[in-house]
Symmetry: C2
Subunit: 342 residues, 2 copies
């Protein structure tokens, strides 16, 4: 099959072997797959990613010296089954799945694995048990956004969000936008969001932010104070660059809950005394639970989360390397969808 | 009055003016006052302490170029009242108080103020409203431990501790010991505690730890795993030296809640990816709420927290500078009580 392949920390477009579904697995055709900022990080910091995963006890580790087909935000179509599958979904059924597969050696991350190619290729093999059929009528490109939107749902759930809480979202890339959508779904108000990019600020407003600021003009915390007064602060750090966490802690009001959703691969510095004096909490988050993933698809299908504004471009497999370059500049793009059969 | 005074970052014993109670204030005789590790930090890092307090929006700041009488863990005796007081407690009544006073210029920290001398002096002025009489029969030296034990009660409350959680206490100085006592009061089991000092380990066992380890022999996390298996981990970091937080995050099991109760005055490094991969939370804590303070006194008075093992020495005002030196070495001492009228 044709695929965009991570090979020795470079992205190349090549023909690679078709995946062959094993016991309990399903072969699917990738219909659409979003490009995730984590994949840009992974390409740049593959060794660090694997090292920190190993150190954190993550059970599946990729071998970065061998080919990896990334892509974990997908909608696909059932083609065929491996041995011993229940064949619950007829060929042609459109499905989504958490990007996890139960392989013979244990759990694997689809798109971060040498054995389970992700959605930047034409075909994937998935665990049948993880498949969720796409509700009739939901466009494929919207179903493909289940995964990134579930990240926002999970981040808000982990913040122990309550109705009187006043949220602030730092960074309006795909993670920040997903957080805004999840906050809107909960009826949070006002939602204050900040990003240096005008395109992203416009998207933040579309996704439900009530107050959107350019931090170059107005510090986010000032806009938050004006909008939220003395309400409990829940701050979503959705950027992930060194130094930002310290700045967030400096700006945070007393007893703020800071959710760290931005992925900072490097070492970072904090000043514990600031956390202590203000009794801050930092909740690091990753991924989502199965019920959050399924619930996100339902919310999108029922029109409670409108993901349409997020898709800014569609490309074929051949366009993936250039898209990665383009995404390094946040202006202009939110979610680029890869449609491998395009 | 005679007092141990912080003067230009040195401790000196001197005669200073008696405090004069203002409106709504009470003049008290200090009966006993514990020496707190924070005071050792404050003496060493006075400028940093004030700087980070200012940056964190703490409303009361001391002027370190002027005299400060520290000491905020006290039991005292009512002597006289200022104008406009209710005089609810007769002279001679033994009282404790949160080390806060409502002065003419706003809130002040008793023992961290140029205007409100703390318990390392013979006399203090306190806000009448904050006084809590010591229940009949409770020894003064035990009542004086209300403040440090309340710190432990608060840390456990902020951890959102639940019955099935399995706690681990890193560092068995006064803060760690207070956390152990608070955990025992909640019926937590097993309580795993670690400290390099044999004296402190013995105290940890006395205060209620079920498993006590010397980290030089056995990593605390190994002892915890053996005792707690796969139960939810709540880790209390009660040391506060740079680098320890990173180590705790490295060792922590997935989804552990880390309570940062150790006061690290310096900048510290963390690796956010470790927090993200394991979805850790860090809750920084400080002090206690008024109800926690009052509840701690009640628990001590009812014999539910036995503080007797903690008092390892009693000294007069003249002995304070030497005691500060001695406390730099954790072996041998837990709580040293200053009895200014001794």
């Amino acid at each position: 099959m044709r695929a965009a392949v991570m090979r020795h920390s470079k992205l190349v477009v090549d023909t690679v072997p078709d995946p062959e579904p094993g016991p309990g697995e399903v072969l699917v055709k990738t219909l659409a797959c979003g490009i995730c900022g984590s994949d840009l990080h992974a390409l740049e910091h593959a060794d660090k990613l694997v090292e920190s995963a190993a150190e954190s006890g993550v059970p599946f580790l990729m071998d970065v010296t061998r080919d990896i087909v990334m892509g974990h935000e997908f909608c696909a179509e059932v083609v065929d089954y491996g041995p011993g599958a229940m064949k619950a979904h007829a060929p042609g059924t459109r499905v989504v799945s958490m990007p996890l597969a139960m392989g013979p050696g244990g759990l694997q991350g689809v798109g971060y694995s040498n054995d389970y190619p992700g959605g930047y290729g034409e075909l994937m093999k998935l665990s049948e048990l993880f498949l969720i059929p796409v509700p009739n009528g939901l466009p494929t490109e919207h179903a493909a956004l289940t995964e990134p939107m579930a990240v926002g749902m999970h981040a808000v759930a982990k913040s122990r969000f309550e109705q009187w809480d006043a949220p602030m979202v730092i960074g309006c890339g795909p993670v920040g936008l997903a957080v805004i959508a999840a906050l809107k779904l909960r009826g949070a108000e006002p939602i204050v969001a900040a990003d240096f990019s005008p395109t992203r600020r416009a998207l933040a407003a579309k996704m439900g932010a009530h107050v959107v600021v350019d931090p170059a003009q107005t510090p986010a915390i000032e806009a938050w104070r004006e909008a939220a007064g003395a309400r409990p602060a829940v701050i979503f750090e959705c950027v992930g660059v060194p130094g930002l966490l310290l700045q967030v802690m400096r700006d945070a009001p007393r007893e703020a809950r800071v959710v760290v959703a931005g992925v900072c691969m490097e070492e970072d510095r904090i000043r514990p005394m600031i956390g202590i004096n203000k009794e801050l909490s930092l909740q690091f988050v990753l991924g989502y639970a199965p019920d959050e993933f399924a619930g996100t698809l339902t919310a999108i299908a029922e029109g409670k989360i409108d993901v349409a504004p997020l898709v800014t471009s569609r490309i074929g497999v051949g366009g993936v390397p250039a898209a990665f370059e383009e995404l390094a500049n946040p202006e202009g793009q939110a979610k680029i969808l890869v449609e491998p059969w395009r």
